[in-house]
Amino acid sequence: MSRIVAASKKPTWIALGIALALQTGLISLQARRRIDTSFVRVWILDSLAPMEKLVDRSTYSLGYVWKGYVALIGIHDENERLSHQVDELQMQLQRNREDLVELQRLRAMLSLSSSDTGKTVVARVIGRDPARSQTVTIDKGTTHGLRPDSAVITPAGIVGRVIHSSNFFSIVQLIVDSQSAVGVLLQSTRRQGIVRGTGGRELDLDYIDDDNDLKAGDTFLSSGLDRIYPKGLPVGVITSVGPRRGLLKTVQVRPSVDLGRLEEVICIIEHTENIDVADPAQGASSP
């Protein structure tokens, strides 16, 4: 028996050696960046992501049937409440339209071009990373114009950037990932800074010109200086300003987008360069 066990150990070590050499080789190639290993990722992504999409579509359809038919019981009261809400929102919309007209007039006066996010494509989130990094899988890839570093946003703000793309799917690194950083400016004072992901639910302020006037509730917008995200999109809101750690105060920022509930996202495949000009609000506040 001992001979059988001893004899059967040889293929084990060979298999272990081959597997370790293969995985170490892949890692080493990425470190040296001499050979592009992205084809391995593209193959596997293109093979597995359709299954994720299929399951996602199936659960979505089931949810649609449930929400559209079964869950409609007792919907009348909610309908009434929503009708009132629609009336209020229509009034709000009218006021906003007036504000927009005024804003466009002021912009024209200041010779500023209206901001534009550029050419976009809407994608559906079909999965989250099966490892520990903060990424999601979306159902659009290079065929739809996406490429690494394409910005991904929602109407609520910045979501992240594409880091890997196959023909029909892409991996999006969320802004809360520990490898992610976004160039920001404080909405109130227009001070420039950088926020960095922590790997958790919040962002850390990594750099800012002056941190003396920071307070909870302040909003950070994208500065556009990182050349990935267009300028002026909401990034996050300061939740706490702690004591100084090194040169800067410890500032926690909650992302504007609820990254735990992503369903559909907007991918910017071509964005017009937003030239960082002095903001009228800053000019007015400066002496």
């Binding site: 370790l20 995985q23 999965g127 490892a131 903060q134 999601v136 899988t137």
Partner: protein
């Protein structure tokens, strides 16, 4: 005792079943992590690497299964390609070789193994990520607490899966 070679169709059938199971594990992990934030703390590929290691007791098969699970996990995430592959390969190997040395049918052994493998996996993947990728802004205390939580969740889920496997074996 004469050992007859396994029919070819049966071999392909077994390999096919394992391939389907491996793909299903990675896809289910991706979908459940997306639908339920809490599921992000679980690492189904790790649990199944240990599960196959313990139940098959075959190091070669466990290495192949662990390696495949890890590589697929890397491809569907932003992790360095090969980091989880390397980690799961080692886990599969150790889990299979542990069968001969420890009483892996005991719940305490299983919990302890899953807990240690999860911590080891987190450590190895993080170190490889730092070696290859750009410097991370994450705090080590945050990472440690994440691994701790993940280790507890994995140990509990693993225990349930192992118990189900034992019950299935006993009834069939």
């Amino acid at each position: 005792m004469t050992i007859y070679p396994m029919p070819r169709a049966s071999t392909f059938g077994i390999i096919g079943k394992f391939a389907v199971a491996i793909v299903a594990v990675v896809v289910i992990q991706g979908i459940l992590s997306f639908k339920f934030t809490l599921f992000g703390f679980f690492d189904l590929p790790l649990i199944f690497s240990v599960f196959y290691g313990f139940t098959l007791g075959n190091p070669v098969a466990s290495i192949v299964i662990g390696s495949s699970l890890g590589l697929m996990q890397d491809s569907l995430s932003g992790a360095v390609l090969g980091a989880n592959g390397l980690s799961k390969t080692i886990i599969g190997f150790f889990a299979a070789t542990a069968v001969a040395k420890f009483a892996v049918d005991q719940p305490v052994t299983r919990i302890f193994a899953l807990f240690l493998f999860t911590i080891g996996d987190g450590l190895l993947v993080t170190i490889l990520g730092l070696m290859v990728g750009p410097a991370s802004g994450a705090t080590y205390s945050g990472a440690l607490s994440g691994w701790g939580l993940s280790a507890m969740f994995n140990a509990l889920l693993g225990l349930v899966l192992f118990a189900y496997h034992d019950w299935w074996n006993a009834t069939t």
